[in-house]
Symmetry: C2
């Protein structure tokens, strides 16, 4: 089944306790599309880049079955640029430089053949931009998923509520869930967010794994116990891409299949953090992804003694 | 199989955002013994109380098959007293009053019929007291487990290292593991603590569940997603009691059985936090404990799609 991905493409410069990435490609749309393309076809990408974005990266995306007809290149302008430094525990980071450039007036226009997607993944963008994408779809996709961040929860809460009311899945981290649900309890926060409209709420907890909530069910996905994260950049987007890639491939929106999708997403994120930027996402195999899912299963499964 | 439990008995006064407990019974030894007694017999308790400790509580322990021959009552003196207030998120607390009383010079002497336990659970006490218990055992039990806390990691690191070198399992929370392992990475911390001697390291992460490490294996136990913790007091001790009660009952120290034991402990802790103090631990049934384990299984198990 087809997956429409809307999200940024960027130049990133990342500093971690382990080193500096230099100027590399990044952006939510890129991570989501690369991750999803391991799981479903076609992946239709909508984004915006400047004159400086490398043609070679676009060719890489094409070779992976990602349709970039929705990636608008603006001549005479620069690609979104972000420079950040992670703290010693790699859980927090400072943004050192943020130059929106072409992302500042991103006004996505869907090519005609993108307008009837089966599934949609809206990467972190302003709620207005996310809404404008939904408004371009003549009929309701089977499932629309949304990512957002603290900035939008604080600065444009009304627009955000509007778009949350129109999507089926929201994928956010624990801090964002607490902020959006206005309670320190993640369970209560998830219930409140479900009441805003979505059928599923997925809360990413970093090293502590992820939670999947529907109105009546909960799933607790384990975090992979790893010694050290090398670079967390893109982990959340890789998670979302794997998750929605799996849902699109299987065309099954049941809770049980969403559980599997959360594990697929967790596997993709666990690869992403092993190297700088999207590098690791470019060298995976279907077998490696399956084996990683088996690791998650082995880690978390147990039996009960009844006598 | 027999389980020797060494730990405090106390009067607690607990304040949470939901109310005040008034003066109730508590203490690590009490929680561990009550929790373990649902799983194995005999549970042999070593502790110390003052003249003011209620005879009725001792009778309750006896009725539950807990042998209190090792509970020393000191005439003319007062029982350990602790008053604490939990913060709004119930993850942190302030100690308002700590009166050690009889616990201040606790010098446990094991009754003769306690000296050959199959299993031992050393509740949080000074490492010197924990060592003095181990020294009273003429032969090595099948497995000795230890709890400790920040205070001992900071104030008596050498004694603590000595006792850690003599036990098979250490059960601590995430903050303590990071402090003891001197690294923010829980996986690295666990490896360093394993190198201090124990065969298993169990790290409790509160709402995020627990991690079980051996040299070559890891198990990630889910946290139960609950709307609100009523009172976290005794949760860690209920966990330890359920865990070691299960190990003693099954007489099986394999990694697979330790996984089950972590789930039993998690189930017991999840009950404990539902009411003030040990109240909930007094009203459980074996069926309810099994059902709670099934909830943990349902929460965390998933399948993988191979095609």
């Amino acid at each position: 089944m087809s997956l429409l991905v809307v999200g940024s493409m960027a130049f990133d410069e990342i500093e971690t306790p382990f080193g500096k990435s230099g100027r590399i490609i990044g952006g939510a749309g890129l991570y989501i599309a690369l991750s999803a393309a391991y799981h479903t076809r076609p992946v239709n990408l909508v984004s915006v880049i400047g004159e400086d974005f490398p043609e070679q990266t676009l060719e890489t995306l094409r070779q992976r079955g990602i349709d970039i007809a929705g990636v608008e290149r603006k001549t005479g302008r620069k690609t979104f640029y972000w420079k950040g430094r992670y703290h010693i525990d790699l859980n927090t980071r400072d943004s050192l430089v943020t130059e929106l450039n072409v992302l500042g007036d991103f006004n996505p226009r869907l090519p005609d053949h993108f307008r009837n997607p089966d599934y949609v993944m809206l990467g972190n963008l302003s709620p207005q931009v996310q809404l404008s994408v939904i408004d371009q779809l003549p009929q309701r996709p089977r499932l629309v998923a949304l990512d957002t961040m603290n900035f939008w929860i604080e600065s444009t809460p009304e627009d955000l509520r509007k778009v949350i009311g129109k999507v089926d899945i929201i994928i956010i981290n624990d801090e964002e869930a607490r902020m959006l649900g206005q309670t320190p309890s993640l369970v209560k926060a998830a219930q409140r967010i479900l009441h805003m409209g979505p059928e599923y709420v997925i809360i990413k907890k970093g090293e502590h794994g992820a939670l999947l909530f529907s109105e009546n069910e909960v799933f607790v996905a384990p975090g992979l116990p790893i010694e050290e994260v090398f670079d967390p950049t893109g982990a959340g987007d890789s998670f979302a891409g794997g998750l929605m890639g799996h849902v699109a491939r299987t065309n099954d929106t049941s809770f049980d299949n969403l559980k599997r999708a959360v594990i697929v997403g967790s596997a993709m994120a666990s690869f992403c953090i092993e190297k700088f930027g999207p590098q690791r996402l470019l060298e995976l195999s279907p077998e490696a992804i399956l084996r990683r899912q088996e690791v998650f299963k082995q880690l978390s499964h147990f039996d009960i003694l009844y006598h």
